[in-house]
């Protein structure tokens, strides 16, 4: 198992394949395992794929604090330095996308492109549509079995998100090889009980709405159609200079687990040529790229969402 001491913690990572560097960044309470069965094997024939466990997650050491997107971007930079990666394509699921954006903000020269996989961004919380989230219709009865009603959720989340995370421990795993088992594991409990992760990952930590508009790195924002975060993707395509939004029909926040092939299909062109993909308003390679640039500059964002 590959580990390296960075910023005072042992960081666990895996590397597969050869080619341009793609770094995979998982979300809060997840691990690099989320990429293991589908995404890494699909990308490794064309890229050197690096997946790692975030601070406090998986086999990476746990610390009491250090869980903002800024802290995590500093950890990521140290890992890239260690591995001799001058510039990488970053793929972040959920909070992992905020880490990718934060690194692009702090060190634009080190980031060739960022893929956001249904990322909820702290400074855009006002755009989250939890009240209208279609998922309530899909999961209402199931969640009610575990005492999670809409009112409880909204209230608890506004007070202290750790309560929501603890509650989620009681729900059986919905995906993966542990499907049906309790979500709670000793590692997860330790992370939530012994660290400030619940408060810190929701901090804006310098990644403000204004600073987001300064990021000129190519970004593709891939959101699930029924995800409560979808409007964030649409917004980013409107306000960031080089961002496109891709909406995956019939999917929600966890499409990465349920429909990884759909996700991979949408990001392949971007990973091949991040700048070219963004310039092409149809999201396909080749022709009309310059025309697309002109349209996009005339009508920022209007042509940049695709379902």
């Amino acid at each position: 198992m590959a580990k390296v001491l960075l910023n005072g913690i042992n960081v666990h990572y895996q590397i597969k394949g050869e080619g341009p560097d793609v770094v995979l960044i998982h979300g809060v309470t997840s691990t690099l395992a989320i990429w293991y069965t589908k995404v890494i094997p699909a990308l490794a024939p064309d890229y050197r794929v690096i997946a790692y466990d975030l601070r406090g997650h998986g086999y990476t050491d746990l610390t009491p604090s250090g869980y903002t997107s800024r802290d995590m971007a500093v950890d990521l930079l140290a890992l890239m330095d260690h591995l001799g990666i001058e510039q990488a394509r970053l793929v972040g699921h959920s909070f992992g996308g905020s880490i990718g954006l934060h690194l692009a903000l702090l060190h634009p020269d080190r980031v060739a492109g960022v893929v956001l996989s249904d990322t909820g961004i702290a400074c855009l919380r006002h755009l989250r549509t939890i009240r209208d989230w279609p998922g309530w219709d899909l999961y209402r009865e199931q969640l009610a079995q575990y005492g999670i009603t809409y009112d409880w959720f909204v209230d608890a989340e506004n007070r202290d998100v750790s309560e929501v995370i603890r509650k989620s421990f009681e729900i059986p795993q919905q995906f993966g090889p542990r499907k049906g088992s309790m979500r709670a594991t000793p590692r997860l409990r330790k992370l939530v009980d012994e660290t400030n992760v619940s408060g810190e990952f929701r901090q804006i930590a310098g990644l403000t709405e204004e600073r987001l508009t300064e990021i000129s790195t190519p970004v593709v924002a891939v959101y699930g159609e029924t995800s409560p975060y979808k409007e964030m993707g649409v917004h980013l395509a409107n306000v960031m200079p080089n961002c496109r939004c891709e909406i995956l029909s019939g999917t929600g926040h966890f499409y990465l687990l349920l429909s990884p092939e759909l996700f991979l299909e949408r990001i392949r062109g971007f990973l091949r040529d991040p700048a070219g993909f963004i310039a092409d308003r149809n999201g396909s390679d080749g022709e009309n790229r310059e025309a697309a640039r002109q349209v996009d500059s005339a009508q920022p964002g209007q042509q940049r969402c695709r379902s």
């Binding site: 198992m1 293991y36 466990d53 499907k179 594991t185």
Partner: protein
Amino acid sequence: MKELDRLALRNDLLTILTELREDWEYSDEITEQTGIFGDLGFESIDAVALGSAIEEHFDQSLPFAEFLTKAGERQAKDITVRDLLDFLMVSLNRSKERRS
């Protein structure tokens, strides 16, 4: 060509499992029926680490991600030590054949 010795493989696998989870609370004997998730308390990331440990031990790349995917697709309730042994027997024999 001589077939791989299943008993020797089993011993290798038990050594890898034990080293991987130094702090586990499982005190019963590990048998071929033991499940890595249900009995040994593995998390998904432990399964990934097990794949890496197996590849390091045998010093070769093995289709462990594919093995985990197939277990998920057939809605297996758990992955047993026997499943792992079967996987190792098939994969290692295949790579032996390729090399010879």
